[in-house]
C-alpha cells in the first residue's frame, strides 16, 4: 500500500519484513531514523524474533553482525560516513569471511572538515572491500533494494551495502509502497548459511592464509561478485514480477536510445537530472541518462552497451578522489576505453551542496558549446578559493582553511538548501 512516509521509515519497515534476527547499530546522522524505527519495532514485539543490540561503536556494530552471521543468523546494520570508516576493518573482514550481512549506508561526506551532509565519499571509501554496493535513486527503490539485497547476499555469501543519499532520501517524506510481508516471505527464503558455527559440526572459520593461497581466495571473491552481475538482473526481474514495479538491477537507462549526450550518475540526483534532461529534450537536445544501481560489482558490459551511440558522456558524481578526479568516471572510462568517447567529470554536491537544475543547465550549456572541462566542479566559488590561496601565499600561519572560508561566506545558516 502506498503511504506518504519518510524514507528512513520505509527502509526500516522493509528491513523488518525481511525478518532480520540480529540488528545492531550505533547512531550517526543521517542513519538514525532507520535504526530508531527498527529498535521500536523490536521493543514493540512487531519484529520478532530479533535481537536489537545497542553497541558502543560502529566497529562493534559490524563485529556483532559478523558473529551473528557466522552463527547462522540473518544480520543487518546501518551506518554512514565516519561510522563506515570506523568499522572499515570489520567491513573488509565480513566480506573476506563471506558473511551475507546487509547494511544500509546513508551516504554522507567524510571530514575533516566535519560535515554531516550528503555526498558519496563514504561509499567510495568502501569500494574495494568486497561488498556488493547498490545505489537507490528513490526511497521506493531504497526499500525494494533491501529485499533483493538479503536474497542476493545469502545466495552468494557476500555482504551487500544498500546506499541511499543521506537526508535527501533518508529524511524525505514521499509516497512509498512498503513491500508486503507475504510477498517478502515468498521472495526471500530463510537464511541457509553456506558455513555455520555449530558445536555438532565444529569447524575453524577465519584461518590465517599465506602467500600460497591468498591470491586464490581473493580471486574466488572476485568470481562471486562476477556471479552477482548475472544474479542481480535476474533478481530484479523476479522482483518486478512479484511486486509489480521495477527496482534494482545493474543500471537504469533513460532516454538513451537516440542520445548523443549521456549523463551518468548514482543515486537520488538522477531525478533532478531527468527533469533537466526532459526540458532540454523538449528544446531539441538529444540527451539521455544512465543511472548506475550496481556500483560494485561494476557492470562494465552493460555500461558500455548503454553508452553506445553517444558522442559525449558526462559523469556527475558526488565524490572526488583528491589529486586524481572522479571515481565513478574512472570506472565508466574503463568501460568505454576502446571507443574514444569524450568523457567529462562533473564533481557536484560535495558535503551536501544542493545540485540545482539551474547549475546543471549552465553546465550542460557549456557542454553544448564544447566548453565543458574534462573535470568540472559544479558551483565552485573560485572567489573564495582565490582569497584563501592568497592568504596562504601571504603568510605561513594563515589559519584553518575551513574556518577562513566560512568567515568569507558570512552567515551560512541563511543559505537555502
Amino acid at each position: 500500500m502506498l503511504r506518504q512516509i519518510e524514507g528512513s521509515r520505509g527502509v526500516a519497515e522493509t528491513v523488518a519484513r525481511c525478518r532480520p534476527e540480529v540488528v545492531c547499530a550505533y547512531p550517526i546522522s543521517p542513519q538514525t531514523h532507520i535504526i530508531e524505527a527498527i529498535g521500536a519495532m523490536v521493543k514493540a514485539g512487531t519484529l520478532s524474533p530479533c535481537e536489537f543490540i545497542n553497541v558502543e561503536s560502529e566497529f562493534a556494530a559490524m563485529s556483532v553482525s559478523i558473529g551473528a552471521s557466522a552463527a547462522g543468523a540473518r544480520a543487518y546494520t546501518a551506518t554512514a560516513s565516519q561510522g563506515l570508516l570506523f568499522m572499515m576493518e570489520a567491513v573488509y573482514n565480513a566480506a573476506g569471511l563471506g558473511l551475507p550481512i546487509v547494511m544500509t549506508l546513508a551516504n554522507r561526506a567524510i571530514g575533516a572538515p566535519i560535515n554531516i551532509w550528503n555526498d558519496h565519499s563514504d561509499a567510495m571509501a568502501a569500494r574495494d572491500t568486497g561488498w556488493i554496493q547498490l545505489f537507490a535513486e528513490t526511497n521506493q527503490e531504497a526499500a525494494d533494494l533491501h529485499v533483493q539485497a538479503f536474497r542476493l547476499a545469502e545466495e552468494l555469501s557476500v555482504p551487500v551495502m544498500v546506499c541511499m543519499d543521506g537526508f535527501i532520501l533518508t529524511h524525505a517524506v514521499e509516497g512509498i509502497d512498503v513491500p508486503e510481508q507475504d510477498d517478502v516471505d515468498a521472495f526471500l527464503p530463510t537464511y541457509e548459511p553456506r558455513q555455520v558455527l555449530d558445536p555438532a559440526h565444529p569447524i575453524s572459520i577465519g584461518a590465517m592464509v599465506g602467500p600460497e593461497a591468498f591470491t586464490e581466495v581473493r580471486y574466488l571473491s572476485h568470481l562471486r561478485q562476477l556471479d552477482a552481475l548475472e544474479l542481480i538482473p535476474a533478481l530484479a526481474s523476479q522482483f518486478a514480477s512479484a511486486f509489480g514495479r521495477e527496482s534494482g538491477g545493474l543500471l537504469h537507462t533513460y532516454e538513451t536510445q537516440d542520445a548523443t549526450t549521456i549523463i551518468v550518475a548514482l543515486g537520488s540526483v538522477l531525478g533532478t537530472i531527468k527533469d533537466v534532461v526532459d526540458r532540454r529534450r523538449d528544446a531539441g537536445e538529444r540527451m539521455g541518462v544512465v543511472g548506475i544501481t550496481t556500483f560494485r560489482p561494476f557492470p562494465f558490459d552493460e555500461v558500455r552497451r548503454a553508452l553506445e551511440g553517444a558522442e559525449r558522456v558526462i559523469v556527475v558524481e558526488k565524490d572526488f578522489s583528491i589529486g586524481y578526479g572522479g571515481v565513478l568516471s574512472t570506472d565508466v572510462a574503463m568501460a568505454t576505453h576502446d571507443s574514444n568517447l569524450p568523457l567529462h567529470t562533473v564533481v557536484a554536491g560535495l558535503g551536501g551542496r544542493a545540485i540545482t537544475q539551474h547549475s546543471l543547465d549552465a553546465m550542460l550549456d557549456d557542454a553544448a558549446r564544447d566548453h565543458l572541462e574534462p573535470v568540472t566542479f559544479l558551483d565552485l566559488d573560485l572567489g573564495i578559493v582565490e582569497l584563501e590561496r592568497a592568504r596562504m601565499k601571504a603568510q605561513r600561519h594563515s589559519g584553518p582553511s575551513a574556518e577562513n572560508v566560512l568567515s568569507d561566506l558570512g552567515v551560512v545558516a541563511s543559505r537555502i538548501g
Binding site: I53, F59, V64, S65, A207
Partner: protein, 342 residues
Amino acid sequence: MTQRPVHFYQVGSFVVGNRLLDVADRTVQSDPQRSDSLDSGHRACQGCGEALGARYALDAAMRVTNGRLIAVNATGCLEVFSTPYPETSWRIAWLHSLFGNAPAVATGVAAAMKVKGKSDVRVVAQAGDGGTVDIGFGCLSGMFERNDDVLFICYDNEAYMNTGVQRSGATPPAARTATTEALGSEPGNVFGQGKDMPRLAMAHGISYVATATVADLHDLENKVQRAMQVRGARYLHILVPCPLGWGSESCDTIKVARLAKETGLFPVFEAEHGIVTGVSAIRHRTPVESYLSIQRRFGHLFGEHGRPDIVAHIQAMADANIERYGLMGDVEQFAATSGATS
C-alpha cells in the same frame, strides 16, 4: 594422639590427576577422554603457556557445557599458531575475525544462539592481553556493560608476542620488550599506573570475574566451571608465561606462573558482582627476585650493574597486592580451595 581426618593425599591435590581421588574429582586434564580443544600439531613455541592455558580453559568449558560451546578468537599468537592454512588445531567450533573485536563478535554469536532458541550453546571469547586490555578494550567494555552472555578469557603473556614482543598495556614495570629496551636510567617498561584489567572488569559489576594461572589447574578449572554456571558477561584473566618473550626456560613455564602467584605479583582471586569473594592464598611466600631473576626480560635488574632499587620497588608492589587481597591465608584453606578434601 590427635585423630585427624585423612584429607591430604600422598601428593596433595596439586597434581593433575591424583590416582587416590575419585575420577570425578580429578581435573579435566587427567581425563583420557578430554576434548583436547586445542590439539597437537599447533605451531606454538616450545613450552608455550598460552597453548596450555587455552586447552585448560576450553577443555574445562567443554566439560561443563557437554560440548555445546563456540569459541571466538582475537588475532594474536593463539590464533596464528593454531590456524595457519591448511591446518587448524581446534577441535571446537571456532571463529576468528579481528584483533580488537572478539568481544563484539562473541556478542553476535550469543545473540544468534538466543534468537534461534539455542541458548544451551555457550560462547567463549578469547584474546591475548593486547586484544583485551588495549585494542579490544572498547568492545570488551561494551560487552560487559550490556551484560551479554559471553565468557571472555584473557590469556595474559604481558606483551605483543605475535609481533615480536612489543610492550602492551599489560606489560609489567621494568620489563624489557622490543619497544621498552633495557636502556637509560629507567630501563625497561615504565612504572605507570598499570591497567588492572580484572578490577576494570569488576568495575562493570558483572556477575563473575576471576584470575588464574597455568600453575594451578584445579583452581583454573573450578573458575571456568563457576563462570559457566552463570549467565551474562563474565571475565577470566589467566597468566600464561611466554618463554620466548619473557626469556625463561621452556621447561619453566609453569614454575614461572607459580612464582608469579607465590610472590604476590599476580594475585589469584575471584569476584562476584564487583566484590572479591575469594583468594588463592600464597603457600610459600617468595621474594620477587626468585620470580624476576629467571626471566631475561628482567635480566638488567641483576648482576654487576643490577638495580636493587627497582627490584625493591617491584617487591613493594607485590607486598601491596598481598596486603590488598589478604593473600597470606593458611595452607589448609588453600588446599581446601584447591579441592584437596577427600
